[in-house]
């Protein structure tokens, strides 16, 4: 699949309140950001159901659901696919995370997170860690064809958990990857 190389606008600034989300997850259910207050939330924006890289990426996050649970974090993955597509995709791949649909109005949520590719009409491959108060703690925008892995998210969740006790995170920062953008809120 050919995507334009240009990244969208700069990532949403850290420490800001995460834009509201109210998105369908099934034909008759919606998910909203407020439901996740009080615990860290991992938002996984991905370009499309079924495309090979996304599936690998979600397969990895899916495998790590027990680890996210151990860290007290919830995971919501978001793309512009419709709920029926999400349902079929989740069933076929045995996915256990919530898949939210940014289908109507198309890309509204992705756009609010500066994670929408206007010229392609799809979400960026972007990761956000949102803290218990609903503020953006860490974000990472990957080149669209590159599976970002989960090391950055797990590192961020651990730093978030330590934040109350340690002044400085001290941990190794995520290595710089070409054409990617990573940032983290400092306490």
């Amino acid at each position: 699949m050919a995507f334009s190389a240009r990244q969208s606008t700069a990532p949403l600034p850290l420490g800001t309140l995460a834009p509201p989300i109210r998105a369908p997850v099934t034909p008759d259910q919606k998910v909203s950001l407020e439901e996740f207050r009080g615990a860290p939330l991992v938002l996984v924006f991905y370009p499309a159901d079924w495309s090979p890289v996304c599936s690998d990426e979600l397969a990895l996050f899916n495998e790590l659901m027990p680890e996210f649970e151990r860290l007290g974090a919830k995971v919501v993955a978001i793309s512009c696919d419709g709920v029926w597509c999400h349902l079929a995709f989740a069933r076929a791949r045995n996915l256990h995370m919530v898949l939210a649909s940014d289908f109507h109005p198309k890309g509204e949520i992705s756009r609010a997170y500066h994670a929408y590719r206007e010229e392609d009409g799809i979400s960026e491959r972007a990761l956000f860690v949102i803290d218990a108060e609903g503020k953006i703690f860490w974000s990472y925008v990957s080149p669209v064809a590159v599976n970002p892995g989960a090391d950055g998210v797990l590192d961020a969740l651990e730093r978030l958990a330590e934040q109350g006790t340690a002044e400085d995170d001290g941990g190794p920062s995520l290595s710089q990857r070409e054409e990617s953008t990573e940032q983290e809120a400092r306490p």
């Binding site: 990426e57 790590l64 599976n147 090391d151 290595s175």
Partner: protein, 180 residues
Amino acid sequence: MSRLRTPVGSHDHILGPVDAPVILVEYGDFQCPFCGQAYEEVNKVLASMGDQLRYVFRHFPLTQAHPYALQAAEAAEAADGQGKFWEMHGMLYENQQALDPESLLAYAQKLGLDMERFTREVSEHRYLERIRRDFMGGVRSGVSGTPGFFINGARYQGDFSASSLITVLQGGGIESPSYF
């Protein structure tokens, strides 16, 4: 570039001499078709590089995508308990289409393993924790799918054909190990 966070050590499955100039670490899943292809390529690499290479295999089973991957990894570890890790590793990759429990028993039998012990250790999940450690170490090193390769500790994201691997392993600008 991501780096290998878990150094190669005595807990690993290793082929090749300790003083080999290059180390290739693979994170693999026995049920992953790409890993099956990589197995063939790595065999060519091993044959070509001889004692110039150390090769390490670590588990990265994507159990939600590959229902037999974890059992297969447990079978390989149980075989390791009887000194036959690499024999089972080869058996599993050469028979990727049949990794159901009965097939695993048949492979163990074929390798002449003590079947009572093999069956017990697999059913007790004796090696689950070890497999999980391999997996998490891979995740924390940035492995995002299988097969995941590291050359002298640096993530290798090129294609895994034997010719590409050999080119890089023979010195295509890869720095020396940072974890020794």
